[in-house]
Amino acid sequence: MATETLASPRPVPRRRMAGQGRLGTLRNWGILLVLWEIVGRLRLVADGALPAPSAILQRLWIDWSDYPPHIWATIEGASIGFLIGNALAIAAGILFVLFPLTGRLARGINIALFALPPIALSPILVITFSGMTPRIILAAIGCYFITMSATVTGLSQTDRRAIDIVRAYGGNRWKVLRLAQLRSALPSILSGLRIAAPNAVLGAILAEFGGGGRFGLGVYLIGSLGRGEPDRLWGIGLAATLIAGLAYGLFSLIAARLTGASRAVTMPAAAPSEARAKGFLRETMIVLASIALPFLFWWVLLYAMGTPAMIAKTPPALFEYLFLSPQSATNLGKLAAALAQTLPMTIIGMAVGLAFAFALAIGSVLYPVIVRAFMPVALVTQTMPLVALTPLLVLMLGRGHSVILWITVSVTFFPAFVTMAQGLSLVSRAALDVPRAYGAGPLKQLRLVTIPASLPYVFASTRLAVPRALLGVMIAEWLATGKGLGNLLNQSRGYLDYGMIWAVAVVSVLLSVVFYQLVVLIENRVLSKRGMSPAQ
C-alpha cells in the first residue's frame, strides 16, 4: 500500500502523507543501521575505523563506568552557559528592539560573537580563566547570537494590529512590549533556544579541548584520540549527540505546546513603510562606532579582569607583536603561511557544501519523498556536535586534505540544506498555481517561482555556513592535518606563545566577519533589487 502511493504521482491526502513520511524515515534509519552494521562487521572503511553499531554499544557498555563524571561535567558547563548566554541574549534582543540605535551600535559585537570560531577562543579562555569558566563562556557565546536574533525577529514581527490596539489606548513602548510583543515572540524565542541548546553543548566541549579540567566529554575525547580505539570515540560522540539531541527535543516539545495558542488567527496586514531620512555623517559615525566597539570591549574586558599583560594581549600589544617587535617578521610569516593553507580549504569546502545542499534542496522540491524521508535525519544530524564528528572522520579518512574537505562540507551542508529546503517549501501554493495554470512543468515552476522566491533562504544559509566552514576547517587542522590556523593555534598553545594565540584568534574572527559581511553585502544588493527582505 505504502509503496503504491509512493510510486504514483496522484496527490495523496495530507494526513496519510505525514504518516507515511514518518514510516519512511523509520525505514530509512533501519536500512542505514543495517548497512552500517554490515560495513562495520566487514571492516570496510579504513580498516575498522567505522565500527559496527553493535560494537559501539558493546564498548559503551564496558566503558560505562567512565562516563558519568565526564557527562556531568559537560552538562554542567553547557547548562550554566546556556542559562547565562540566553538570559543575556533575550535582554539584548529586547534592548535592541526598544532602542534600535543600540542594535546598530552593537552590530559589530554581535557579528563577531556569531562568527568567531569557538575553537580559536578556547585556548585564550583556558589561559585567562580557570575551572568551569571557559566552558561556560563558550557555551554562552554559542547561544547568544541565535537567541538574540530570534528574540529580535519575534519581537519585531509581532502582528501590527496587536501593537496598534495597545497603542490606540495610549500604551507606551513598555506596555506594547509587555502586552503584545513578548508573548507573541515566545515561539520564535523558543525555537532559538532549541537551536541554541546543542550549540551550548558544542561550546562546552570545544572549551574542554583547550584543556583545564579532568572531566568533560571533550577531555575524554582528546584523551582517547591517540589510543586508536574507534569504538570508544564513536561512543563518546554518541553520548555528546544524545545530550545535544535531548536538549533540542526538550525545547521542541515546549515550543510545540506553546505555539498552538499563539498561531495567528488571521493574516497580518503589512503597515506602510516609510523611507528613513538619513544623515550621511550620522550613519558613518554609527558604522564606525559599531566596528570600534568590539575592540574597545576586548580592551576594557582585559583591563577590568586585570589579567597579566604577558598572557592577555590588548589590541596595541597585539599590534606590537605583529608589526613592531624584532620577531614580527617571523610571526607574520607563520600567520600568513597558515592563512594560505586555511583560506582555500574554507572557501572550497563551503562552496561544495552549499552547492550540494542547494542541489539536494531543489531535488527535494521535485521529489518531495526525499524531504519527508531525509529531513528528520538531517535535523538530527544538525544537533550532532561537530567535534564529536571530527575525530571519527579523521579515523575514517586519514589526515590528508580530503578530511578537511569532508568535515567542512558536512558541517556546512546540513544546516544549509535544512534552511534551503524550508525556504523552498514555504513558497506559496498560490504563486505556484499561476504558472501551473498555464501548463508549466515542474522544472519551469522551479525556475520561474520557486528558486527566485527562495533566494532569501539561500543567502540566509550562506551566512550561516560561513563561520561553520571556518570552524570545521580549524577543528580538522587542530585534530588531524597539522596545517593551517587550527594547527598554529594548537602549536602556540604548546609553546606558550601567547601573542600568536591571540593573533590567530583575532585573525580568524576577522576573517569570519569579513566573509559574513561580504555575503550580507551581496545579499542586500540582490534582494533589495528584487524587493525582498532577508530571511532570518
Binding site: 494590529r161 489606548y169 502586552l179 488567527v265
Partner: protein
Amino acid sequence: MTDRAGIRISRVSRVFEGRGATVQALDDVSLECPAGSFTALIGPSGCGKSTMLRLALGLDHPNDGEIRIGGLEPLAAARQGLTGVAFQDAALMPWRTVEDNIMLPLDVLDKKRGAFRAKVDELVDMVGLSGFEKALPGELSGGMRQRAAIARALVTTPDVLFLDEPFGALDQILRRQMNIELQRIWMESNATTLLVTHGIDEAIFLADRVVVMQSRPGRIGQVIDIPFARPRQSAIFSDPQFHALEAEIAGALDGH
C-alpha cells in the same frame, strides 16, 4: 468648540514618502463629528480613510493641521480612556481568552480588572458570547471574533468609538446581522462613532451621515445626510429611498 465627546479634524494633511514615490494620503481635510453622532467614511482604496482613523487614534501624526478628540490631543484622549477602537479582522491577541481580550484596554490603561467584572459580563452577554468567555480566538468563528472585538472596544465605556472596517472580513449575510447588532449597541452606548467602511449599504444603514472620500490626493468629496429614523429595521435595505441613497453615494464615489 467641540464638547467632551466630539471629534474635530481641521485642515489635516499627511504625506507618505515611499521609495521614489510620494503619496499625499490626506490633503487639507477637515471634518467635524458632533457628540453622539454616527459618521461613516467611505471611499476607494488608498483615499486615506484608514490614515484618517490612525491619525485620530494617535497611531500616526499629521504633517499639517490638528485633530482634537473631546478637545484633547488624540494620544491624551486615548490615555484618559475616552476612546474605543475595533480594527478590521478583529485583531484579537491569539493567546488571550475572549474575556482577557475584552479586558486588554483595562490592562493598557492600568485600570483594576475587578471593578469591571460586571461590565465585562454584561458586554459578553450583549454581544452574544456567553459561555465562550474562556475560549481562545482560534476556537471562534469569524463573526464571534468580530463581536469580541466590538465588546473590547466598549469595555471602557468610551465617549468616542472608532471602527475600522470592523466587518470587512465577514460575508454579506453575517455582515447585515452584525450591522443590526451594532446599531443596537451604539444606541445604548450613545458614543460618538466614526466608522470606516467599504460597504455602501453598511454606511447608509448605520450612519447619520456618510462622508465620501476621494483619492490622489485623499480628500473629502461629498457629505451625504441619511434621514432614516432609528432604530432602523432590516426592511430599509429594500426601501426605494435606500436605493436612491446608494445610487447617490456610488455616483459621489465615481467623482460626480
